[in-house]
Symmetry: C2
Subunit: 224 residues, 2 copies
DNA sequence: AACAATGTACTTGTATACTAGTGCTTGACA
DNA sequence: TGTCAAGCACTAGTATACAAGTACATTGTT
């Protein structure tokens, strides 16, 4: 378990949640790994209570399994759940981008354009970390400007299944195409072309498809 | 706060959650009502811990607000959140019913038909409670047969905003149309007509639209 | 040796005690 | 009378103690 510093205003529960998610996504806590509330809490210098609350939250999206009176574990990879996350994201993002075409004003479009401009900058400067952050931010922005923050938050909670296998997949996302996808989407929104925007988004998200069988071969034992 | 019996296998946390949701939906805990963990726990004959865990879960979908070190309250009605719930449901249900047209086998169609048959029975026998239950079950089934149970569960968690104002609205759902809507949807699925199914679902869900202004007039003070 | 019962060491679930932060009340003082 | 400050009564956040259930090892018996 890799730990980073606790933010100053962060509660114990938020810290535990952040640490657990990070470690699960980056496979420092591998699928199937047994989790003990006691062990985790002493590792993080917390009591069981905040750790337990974090585990309960993670179990809601089935990334952690809790067996009452027996133990807890990082969930094995259930490919159907990954597919659910992909499906949900695809459906909602397409609907939101279509909605954005109808409702987005000048300010919103400018915000999106600013974001993409920054992406171009970090693409040239080879800063994949910043780029990933801006990518997430771009999609979050689309939900925000259409007033669907809560929907985003719910969708985001299940996305961890997808994030985990993305981090397993060695194939990096082709950043160049990603950024130009974003550019095209913003242009479609500015032009208020809903059908085009939806189509572009669908194509964009399809780039993240990951070969299940290859992963299964490389990491047997991580799968359900 | 109205309490019903605790199920035998139910944990304290699950019981607290069920009670809180029921009372919020049926306005026994009105919007804006201050909640005290101590008060709630003694009312439910539990300690603070399981009650607190339930409140945290409800705060995730913003139906309960927790102000650290100050207090908690049932959230006022935020119409934008209601709209988010409606939007999310509409988008996902339409996508799922379309998917069902592609993937549903004979067994799945039979399950749906059985459900609708029961709806017809309870419609004739004027049993609105059973009918409501079957209505929920019908929609849950659509997600189940397409392998999207987790998506349903997440969607369902935000639906409470919608359920609350539905219970405020005196206008009962026209059960007759509801049942015939369901019939038509099942037929479209059996005929594998995705476009029709989607259109029918959209029309079906639009029946639940509620007049915001009328509610605002009737219940000022419940709104944000 | 085979097997059954029991003890033990774990787990999560719940209750309770303590910490720290908020806001209001109350009272002293100018 | 007005103002400010100390204290009190509440809150949620956290730590710890205890309860209840599970799995496994160990021991005693046949």
């Amino acid at each position: 378990m890799r730990l980073t510093e606790r933010y100053s205003k962060e509660t114990g529960r938020e810290y535990a949640l952040r640490m657990l998610k990070d470690n699960i996504i980056h496979l420092d806590l591998v699928p199937g790994k047994l989790l003990s509330e006691n062990e985790l809490s002493s590792e993080m210098n917390l009591s069981r209570t905040p750790v337990r609350e974090a585990l309960i939250e993670l179990s809601k999206v089935k990334i952690v399994e809790i067996y009452p009176q027996k133990g807890s574990a990082v969930a094995l990879i259930d490919y159907n759940l990954v597919e659910e996350a992909r499906f949900m994201r695809n459906v909602l993002e397409c609907a939101v981008v279509e909605l954005a075409c109808k409702t987005a004003g000048e300010d919103a479009v400018r915000e999106l354009k600013d974001n993409v401009k920054l992406q171009e900058f970090y693409l040239e400067n080879r800063s994949p970390e910043q780029l990933l952050k801006l990518d997430d931010e771009f999609h979050r922005l689309l939900f925000h400007i259409t007033g669907k923050d809560q929907v985003y938050q719910l969708m985001d909670s299940i996305t961890i299944h997808f994030d985990r296998i993305r981090s397993m997949s060695l194939i990096a996302v082709k950043d160049l195409k990603t950024v130009s996808d974003h550019q095209a989407i913003v242009e479609a929104i500015a032009a208020k072309d809903g059908d085009l925007a939806k189509e572009l988004m669908d194509k964009h998200l399809s780039r993240y498809k990951i070969d299940e069988e290859a992963l299964r071969r490389e990491y047997p034992g991580y799968f359900l």
